[in-house]
Amino acid sequence: MNKRDEPLLVIEDLKVAFPGQSAPVIDGLSLTLDRGEVLALVGESGSGKSMTALSLMRLLPSGGAITGGRIRFDGEDVLSLPDRQMNRLRGGRMAMLFQQPQAMLDPTSRVSAQIAEPLRLHRGLGRRAAMGRVLDLLRDVGIPDPAVRARCFSHELSGGMAQRVMMAAALSGDPDMLIADEPTTALDVTVQAQILRLIDEERRKRNLATLLITHDLAVVAALADRVAVMYAGRIVEEGPAKAVLESPQHPYTQALMRCSLLVPDPHGQLLSIPGSGTHARELTCGCRFHPRCSAASQHGLVSRCMRSEPALKPDADGHVTRCWAVETEKETAA
């Protein structure tokens, strides 16, 4: 296996399914992520973006199973690793930030103990060495008075502070990849900017590959190098952040952009996507977005969109889109 030429993380045709559900939660997802790069995975709840993160960590909720595809991390096949090595990978080279930082901290033990424990377990550091390292980490993530904060319990921390502590814990294993699952959704806007800045600084400092999962395009705009938009378990558009945000191709991405901006039209209505995507996965044929899509009728493609699903088609600069309307437009332009 050629370690050098390959991106740090390669996901190929990943499929995740839950028993009792007719449709897979993730259906043929392929992604790559390089060192030092921030890839944003965008979509509504239920689109499968969090499940993607959990499958990377092999931490799917009970019942969920990876039914197909491959995940390679630094040349190693993650899906076939023995549990023990997987554990080491999780605490070490892959780290994760969660939406509810407070809920992820054990309320009965001190912050310091929770960061120190993996250090002592995985790295075999002594009590004193581990504590010194904890204080360094807390200082790194911008916590004032680390010595005082280290003795706090999770309920004594504000949301922003707790997320910083989680970041310190994530960095304790010297990770190569950081998965941030809605890291700022539960935080106030002012703190949100601080945490995003922290993620940005750390990835520059450590050349961290970062998978940022969010439904907020403002967060994407602030941080991401590349964006992948998910809808109903599939990627519908992927490309450089600038390209996707400035000229979104897929009707879903376009709609999502307008929703996020919260800008009203001349009638004082906010632009929104009609309907909900909750059951889109269960569509058996056609484009999964077509029931909510307006581009189809505009281009006179309704029957085509209903019958067969478009494939991901690239344009010149690595910007891929899964949409008949976009494809037709390009053909006519050519």
């Binding site: 806007v189 002012t190 900017a193 907020d216 004082g268 909900s276």
Partner: protein
């Protein structure tokens, strides 16, 4: 500070011109305070001397970080808790000392839309039952009439009649929030409080719910209080916006004035933070230092001075008064005159 200075005309571009006259106040809050006592010597001044009024048919936005006391105001207005001091009048009636039947009537007048639609509905009750029960409790209509009303309301909030038979877990967050709004409106309240109605929802659901609220406000002439930590959310729907920090209101202004010429440094930080983009991440405005200080022990002087980029010695000594920057624009800052109102010019200065 006179609360009537806050009562003013409204110029929202979504409003018909007829409503641009002075509206009689529906909600008047004066020097309202709520202190939670923790043990003998500690108390959290969650709301500390807040005054504002909301005119009939007006939508006021209340914005601030979590812990600033905005949800406590919602609890005070719905009588879920009683104020430590100060007055709350709704339609001219002091609500602090009502009880029994009168309280029940007040509850019809003031309704609340919750942040978490999943929690706000009993998981073991069908949606129809959940919506009908309050009507029955208020002895409104016969059983058939109530059912009829609920069915009509389901359509009005953009659902269909099949939802009547469903359980909450069979619905999405956006659908449940519609149910919660519908349930509140069934009692035909004159004042609707929305406490972070969209923060538990996706971007696309968020706009749907905001559109629905705008629609309902227009159709029913609702007076509303929109509570949120996100200025983008209140921008669309509100006529006037109040910014709260650590139990105090630091700035009140018309919606457009607030966005065009924010006077308080905190408001500016909030605006900058909610309009993030790549360069914005490192913009000086959002460089708020640290977190909200503990309300257990708020800073002396101006409460914001510990995080303010413009703080000077005076700020840590004396708390600024609420001053009128213009007829409809009040701000609580010593240096609002000195601080450039133009945000683009501001970016480079300290």
């Amino acid at each position: 500070m006179n609360s009537h200075t806050l009562l003013r005309t409204v110029t929202g571009d979504t409003q018909p011109p007829a409503s641009q006259a002075v509206r009689p106040p529906l909600v008047e809050i004066e020097h309202l305070a709520k202190h939670y006592h923790l043990g003998l010597s500690f108390s959290v001044k969650s709301v500390d001397g807040v005054s504002f009024t909301i005119g009939q048919g007006e939508v006021l936005g209340l914005v601030g970080e979590s812990g600033c006391g905005k949800s406590t105001i919602a609890r005070l207005l719905t009588r879920q808790t009683s104020p430590t001091s100060g007055q709350v009048k709704i339609a001219g009636q002091e609500i602090a000392d009502v009880s029994g039947e009168e309280l029940k009537r007040l509850r019809r007048t003031v309704q609340l839309v919750f942040q978490d639609p999943f929690g706000a509905l009993d998981p073991r009750m069908r949606i129809g039952t959940s919506m009908e029960a309050p009507l029955a409790q208020h002895r409104i209509g016969t059983r058939e009439e109530r059912r009829e009303k609920v069915m009509r309301m389901l359509t009005e909030v953009g659902l269909d009649e099949s939802f009547y038979e469903r359980y909450p877990r069979q619905c999405s967050g956006g659908q449940l929030q519609r149910v919660v709004i519908g349930r509140a409106l069934l009692l035909e309240p004159s004042f609707l409080i929305c406490d972070e109605p969209t923060s538990a929802l996706d971007a696309s659901m968020r706009t749907q719910i905001l559109n629905l609220l705008t629609d309902l406000k227009r159709r029913h002439g609702l007076t509303m209080l929109m509570i949120s930590h996100d200025l983008r959310v209140v921008r669309h729907i509100c006529d006037r916006i109040a910014v709260m920090y650590l139990g105090r209101i630091v700035e009140v202004a018309d919606r457009d004035a607030l966005f065009k010429t924010p006077r308080h440094p905190y408001t500016r930080a909030l605006i900058a933070a909610s309009m993030l983009d790549r360069t914005g991440l490192y913009a000086p405005e959002i460089q708020l230092r640290g977190d909200l200080p503990s309300p257990l022990n708020p800073p002396l002087g101006c409460r914001f001075h510990t995080r303010c980029a413009h703080a000077q010695a005076k700020c840590s000594q004396a708390e600024p008064e609420f001053e009128a920057a213009s007829e409809s624009h009040q701000v609580r800052c010593h240096f609002w005159r000195e601080l450039q109102p133009d945000r683009s010019a501001e970016a480079g200065s300290p």
